[in-house]
């Protein structure tokens, strides 16, 4: 089965500090991995994806993610957090090989403290 896991329900970080939101995956073959962000009362917005190639993927709003095959991780990072980054972050992968629908993690609430 293809799945992702987010081990942290909540992450707090001071404004200006680097942030990391963790995701681990259990995917056979070459994984496709996504990060989405959900702001209050809004739908999910695509941030970035890993398909193949460079292990460091750059996405929207200054976010990046590092694919680590040995640790089966795909952590989301940003060098300097903004208060406006406070939101709910979801890691996701296709639910099966070649599947269209996404399997989402349980989400991590990021709070950036001014």
């Amino acid at each position: 089965a293809q799945s992702v896991a987010q081990p942290e329900d909540q992450v707090n970080v001071a404004e200006g500090n680097p942030l990391t939101v963790k995701c681990t995956y259990s995917v056979s073959g070459n994984p496709y991995l996504f990060w989405y962000v959900q702001y209050p009362n809004r739908g999910l917005q695509f941030l970035l994806k890993y398909i193949t190639g460079d292990n460091l993927v750059k996405g929207s709003y200054g976010f990046e993610a590092e694919f680590n095959k040995s640790q089966t991780s795909f952590h989301l990072k940003k060098p300097s957090a903004l208060v406006s980054d406070s939101a709910l972050y979801f890691c996701a992968s296709p639910a099966g090989t070649g599947a269209n629908n996404l399997f989402f993690g349980t989400g991590t609430r990021l709070t950036v403290i001014p």
């Binding site: 809004r42 599947a99 269209n100 629908n101 989402f104």
Partner: protein, 116 residues
Amino acid sequence: EAGVAQSPRYKIIEKRQSVAFWCNPISGHATLYWYQQILGQGPKLLIQFQNNGVVDDSQLPKDRFSAERLKGVDSTLKIQPAKLEDSAVYLCASSLGRTGGGGEQFFGPGTRLTVL
């Protein structure tokens, strides 16, 4: 480019009543998804359409939920009768093709359903 549209944004009903949600995907997107997001959880797929055909409805509670996508564009999701545990945000998403092929999904703002 217009995004995925959903209506209504909020709905409050009593248990055993029926409710319907509407979704208009991004123009040209062949694949449409309905997800259910219960508070504190990640979205879970209810049903997936490819054009006007159902690709996956394995997690749709078919005794009370139904969905259709006439003409391969707009879609409606219906619940009849609603139960308390149906309280959730219902998200519609669309994509050009297969997410399994690396394509991202685009989500609407969702409909927040409260069943009393």
